[in-house]
């Protein structure tokens, strides 16, 4: 069984009774030991996918396996492998953080209190005040601790860093990396690529219930466009640049031209620019956020 993937879905679909097709025919495979970023705008179907994996909602077609266990028929066994953090975390307001964690720990057969205490210390959790008095960030930290505290093989985290300050976000990232280094799997959703690009090995991009791309972060970056800014000695006609393949003029104001282009087009740009007197030339890799938006735009073209 060691070769079964952490998550495997086949034709997984969810149509809600009101007719909304929240997830359409998802085929996804997440290997053990990887950090997988599941990306998409709000309402794309990220939480729907996650709730299907946890058997909180039932698929209209297809199915999913977690460590080879069917999420419908072997849900309890499957969930033993999972630590889950919901997107909109709701805890018992009247309990203190400690009572809440103790209570959740007792819902599982085995919880290593040593590991829990370590996590509590790491995130500087507030344990002795009622949860209703805690800030969103402090609640979220309790949510992270409960997801990790039983040393699950698979972490399913729905927008885990919401409400966390940068320090704790950093702490969370190292925790995710350690978990993956340990051979365990982290599946995390986000609406922002920026949030996961530094930790995820691969990302899947979902939109309107359809998975539109799965790729490694590195190759996404390679495929990405460069932003090129050229400053000339005097005003230049942008038309020759616009005529180059795959090059787009972002702006052309007098002597400064801003372009976006993939790596292979750069040679042509430099040669075209060389016909004029160049004062400065800057080429910078596009932020992944822009690639992300670019993918969305491409996808729009298809429909």
């Amino acid at each position: 069984m060691a070769d079964t993937p952490a998550i495997e879905t086949r034709g997984l679909s969810k149509t809600y009774p009101n007719g909304v097709r929240a997830l359409v025919d998802l085929d996804l495979r997440v290997e053990r030991g990887e950090i997988f970023g599941y990306l998409g705008p709000n309402g794309a179907g990220k939480s729907t996918t996650i709730r299907l994996l946890l058997d909180l909602i039932r698929p209209s077609a297809g199915g999913a396996r977690v460590h080879g266990l069917d999420t419908r028929t072997q849900g309890v066994q499957a969930r033993r492998h999972i630590g889950y953090l919901q997107g909109d975390l709701r805890l018992s307001d009247r309990l203190t953080g400690r009572e809440q964690l103790d209570s959740l720990a007792r819902l599982r057969a085995r919880v290593d209190t040593g590991l829990r205490d370590q996590l509590v210390e790491r995130f500087a959790c507030v344990l002795d005040r009622p949860i209703r008095e805690l800030s969103k960030g402090n609640r979220q930290k309790l949510g992270i601790v409960q997801a990790f505290m039983h040393r699950p093989d698979l972490l399913i985290l729905d927008e885990p860093t919401g409400g966390l300050d940068p320090l704790n976000q950093g702490e969370f990232r190292s925790l995710a990396r350690e978990t993956a280094a340990d051979g365990r799997t982290v599946f995390l959703s986000s609406h922002s690529l920026d949030e996961v690009q530094h930790i995820a090995h691969r990302v899947g991009i979902i939109r309107s219930g359809r998975l539109i791309d799965v790729d490694s972060v590195d190759s996404l970056r390679e495929r990405s466009l460069r932003r090129i800014t050229i400053r000339f000695a005097r005003a230049v006609d942008p038309a020759p640049f616009a005529a180059l393949e795959a090059v787009r003029i972002e702006s052309a104001e007098g002597a400064v031209i801003r372009l976006s282009a993939p790596e292979p087009a750069i040679d042509g740009i430099v040669k075209a620019a060389a016909r004029h007197q160049v004062v400065d030339l800057v080429s910078e890799p596009a932020d992944l956020e822009e690639i992300f938006l670019e993918l969305y735009r491409e996808d729009d073209g298809l429909h």
């Binding site: 889950y84 805890l91 819902l107």
Partner: protein
Amino acid sequence: MASTELVRRGVLDRTRALIGWSVVIAAYIALLAAIFPSLEDSENLDELVQDYPEALKDLLGFGDVLLSTGSGFMDTELFNLMLPLLVLVLAIGSGSRTLAGEEEAGRLELPLSYPLLRRDAVLAKSVSLALELIVVMAIAFAAFALADPLVGLDLDFERLSGGVLGVTLLGLLHGWLAIAVGAARPGRALAIAVSAGVAAVGYLVNGLHELASWLDPFRFLSSFWWLGQSPLSTGVQYDGCLVLALASAVVLVAAALLIERRDLEVP
């Protein structure tokens, strides 16, 4: 064990409510006991009630009991309406909150993502509701036991136990019904509406079926008809109690099956 923890949490979360309910019910019994000695000697009261129209007596649950006796007084003032009403409010409130209310608040998602069966979660919540009712009714029983010798209510112990048991079962049935409705469909308001509606219609059918003959065939659907009236004066309907217990069991099984059949609602 997951189920044990859910039961434990279910009862602990209701500690304050339970203390409140126990105080209210015990205080009400104490108040009645304090009033009783001043009515005991007034035979006029019985004559006054005897002159009420039959229909009114049936509806108010006066029947043929004597207000001047401890058992008749407690039947009329407590067992025929007030105690069932209080217990129904407690049971339906708690039953609708523990499942439908928690789901509406988004607090069911995290525990159900743990390795436990939904039906076990529903059964655990049903058990804690039963424990809640038992605690409150045990305190009511203790209040009777204390008041009886002090003011000479002269209650029959077996009838008192049976009467308290019957009201507990009435509460259990409607509380579990609220859980079952919450298991079938999300929404706390719906759970309250259905179970309170069933109780209210049952009460009316029981009070009026002898007067409106077309209602008579429906009396079997009334939980109050099975509970019976004036247990302290006329004896406990144990067969009716058995029916209430069986109906509760059926409702419980339905709740456990229904929760498995649907999507969890997300707020």
